[in-house]
Symmetry: none
């Protein structure tokens, strides 16, 4: 007993649109606890669509279709499904009436090609579309097979899903048990490094533990099926706690937490504030801090010191040191962090100076070399030398620089 999602549309095969419908439906199925093993995309081609229906109806018991319900000649999902099950199409007068009214509301006359949308297979029920003209259907062509169709327009599909499909699926006994999960977020450790540390947990089937990696972050998803969130958490929490203990300071937050948010909370709790001095990130670190609504409580501002003259004039960096050590150096990073902390009068000062590339490298300073300094309330400065790797692109190096600055501040705040 499982669901298969089938998306119909040549525009998907041409890459003209991003298939966000399938992600929405997948998430919904997961949260309802409905197993779902395959997603298929096929063009507006009846022969190939029939092939897909044949394959899918052998391996799934509910087929969800999106796309191909509209009024134009290339919309042929409904008629192809009917043909496959050798069932005649019936014109539903209530659909025609509904479409006519929607046109009238918008001050338009219904054109004749819209009648096509009123045809559904004999025996199928209408799945109403409150916001658009093309309705879907719920149909059981075989005793062990249910078909549901939705238009491709995301807003229409989502509303029909919530208002009609979910109540229907629940009435069929689905959604009694739902998948709950906790996403744990880590920084400062790679996917393979973290996996090696928690390897013994991957064999667990309840809860399941699965790793994910993206730029600047590794995640572990701990999930289980349960009748309620409270019940799920009794299964998830012990394992989540064990992982947090193993990961130590490399764990930074869970679910929707971001580094900027976590750091912001720590600063707010301590009634401290921060300013930034940015060279290669050009304002990116400030932008990260201020992504968070309410960040004005602890983020005062900073200096974008892209040019060396600005480092001297606005941050008090020593001109001779600039010549001697170069802008990308521990000495200058320190002076920038202290300079911004002092001039803006904040508890903490963060600085970033590095080579984001692709140009600017020298023999002993490769692309990806970045110095990040943290000036503490007591006036001490810690500097991190990061080498993000010459193979990374400019955007990634700048992004990772900002993440590292936030993360190092987080560790400092937690470690005091």
């Amino acid at each position: 007993m499982s669901v298969e999602i089938i998306c119909v549309g040549t525009e998907l095969l041409l890459g003209d649109i991003l298939n966000s419908n399938v992600q929405f439906l997948a998430k919904q199925l997961a949260s309802l606890g409905i197993p779902h093993y395959y997603q298929t995309v096929v063009g507006d081609n009846p022969t190939r669509l029939q092939e897909i229906i044949k394959i899918a109806s052998q391996r799934a018991s509910i087929l969800l279709f999106t796309g191909g319900l509209g009024p134009t000649p290339d919309d042929l999902t409904t008629e192809t499904i009917a043909q496959f099950f050798q069932t005649p199409l019936i014109e539903k007068p209530e659909i025609i009436e509904d479409i006519r009214q929607k046109f009238a509301q918008r001050g338009r006359i219904m054109t004749d090609n819209n009648r096509k949308q009123a045809l559904i297979p004999q025996g199928a029920d209408i799945l109403p579309n409150p916001s658009g003209t093309a309705p879907g259907m719920i149909w059981q062509p075989l005793s062990n097979l249910t078909i549901m169709t939705f238009p491709g327009v995301p807003s229409e599909m989502k509303r029909m899903w919530a208002e009609t499909a979910v109540p229907y699926l629940k009435s069929q006994g689905w959604g009694q048990e739902v998948i709950y999960s906790r996403m744990l977020r880590f920084r400062g450790i790679g996917e393979s490094g973290l996996a090696a540390k928690v390897n013994h947990l991957f064999a667990s089937t309840n809860p399941m533990v699965a790793p994910y990696a993206s730029l600047g972050e590794v995640r572990l998803r701990v999930s289980t099926k349960a009748a309620s969130e409270a019940e799920a958490m009794t299964i998830i929490e012990p394992v989540a706690q064990e992982i947090k203990k193993i990961a130590g300071l490399d764990y930074f937050g869970q679910d929707d937490d971001t580094l900027a948010e976590v750091v912001g909370k720590l600063l707010r709790d301590r009634q401290e504030n921060v300013s930034v001095a940015e060279s290669c990130t050009g304002g990116g670190l400030g932008a990260m801090f201020t992504t968070i609504a309410g960040s004005s409580d602890y983020f005062l501002g900073g200096v974008i010191a892209y040019d060396n003259q600005i480092k001297i004039a606005l941050l008090g960096v020593n001109a001779e040191d600039l010549k001697k050590y170069g802008a990308v150096s521990e000495v200058i990073a320190q002076q920038m962090a202290l300079g911004v902390k002092q001039r803006l009068g904040t508890s903490w000062g963060l600085s970033i100076t590095g080579i984001a590339g692709p140009g600017g490298a020298t023999d002993n300073k490769p692309v990806g070399l970045v110095y990040i300094s943290i000036a503490s309330p007591d006036g001490n400065v810690k500097t991190i030398e990061s080498r993000f790797g010459e193979t990374r692109d400019r955007d990634s190096i700048r992004f990772l620089s900002g993440c590292t600055a936030l993360d190092e501040l987080r560790r400092k705040l937690l470690n005091r």
Copy 2:
């Protein structure tokens, strides 16, 4: 002779991530003129993956796989493919050496689970991954079937596609007739407004003209199929020129041009430079400028004046005016732009102050109200009052504020 895309990953079935890889590959196949009729998504499950390989290898001659190449136990694309074709896996020492070096560059030790990524089927070629640890493969297990595998990380997959897969496909005779296109980019006009102006061109089938809209930008794609770029451009260019003429200053660039790049070129040509004073964007405008490599030629830096005290101390904003007009006002935006221009000694000064929300609105200052000032070399200041709408979220308002500042500077630079 056609391609099938197979994406492997339980995270796709759970809806945890949006499948942007498949859109990228679909677009690439379309532009190379390679037919592609099906896309399939399957979880990290060897039995089901084998089923998919069986079906796909009967209806396509090239199978493109993404995902499941990493070091963790649930990464099993390569071994499942090898099993299906009953071929042993061979450990490639050159891959292990490459992974070891990548870990060393980042100052880490390669954990043992990484060795898994060095196993590829006997007879397969390595598809190198310059930016990540998991390489892919190109393999012809049957005379009429080619398999190519890519990691799921989009940046790695895209680079491998461009650097290795495309040359390979071209060497196999694909891409003789290719779809060439010119993307024209617009700002300051909506999709329907632009569409109404160029409506007569949408009926054209050669070249085809299609509109696209995204946050802060409208695009028109002018495309045609041809044997060479030169031939394509004789068909595309006359229409592109007509569109540019119709759009006037609302047209800002083509293909991969960004606003920041276009503005940067204009500044460089005029040997002028710019500084920024940012409140609600918190560094985002500076980050946009410095996305462009070489932006140090014309971007000197700026002040992130998130807190009002910083506006006074570092930009010379008048404390009484701040009280009288509020930080989000034309008067303060002007003083910020003039202040940063003067203190950093640049030709131009740009400022942004606004309410990004969700909090901070007052009766006469709604969320989305943003003032953007441009101080010119002659000392004049122009201020734009933008209302980005109360329904937009914080990120969008901040992004649109940065785009508008860049765009207004572009218009100023072109209009002098």
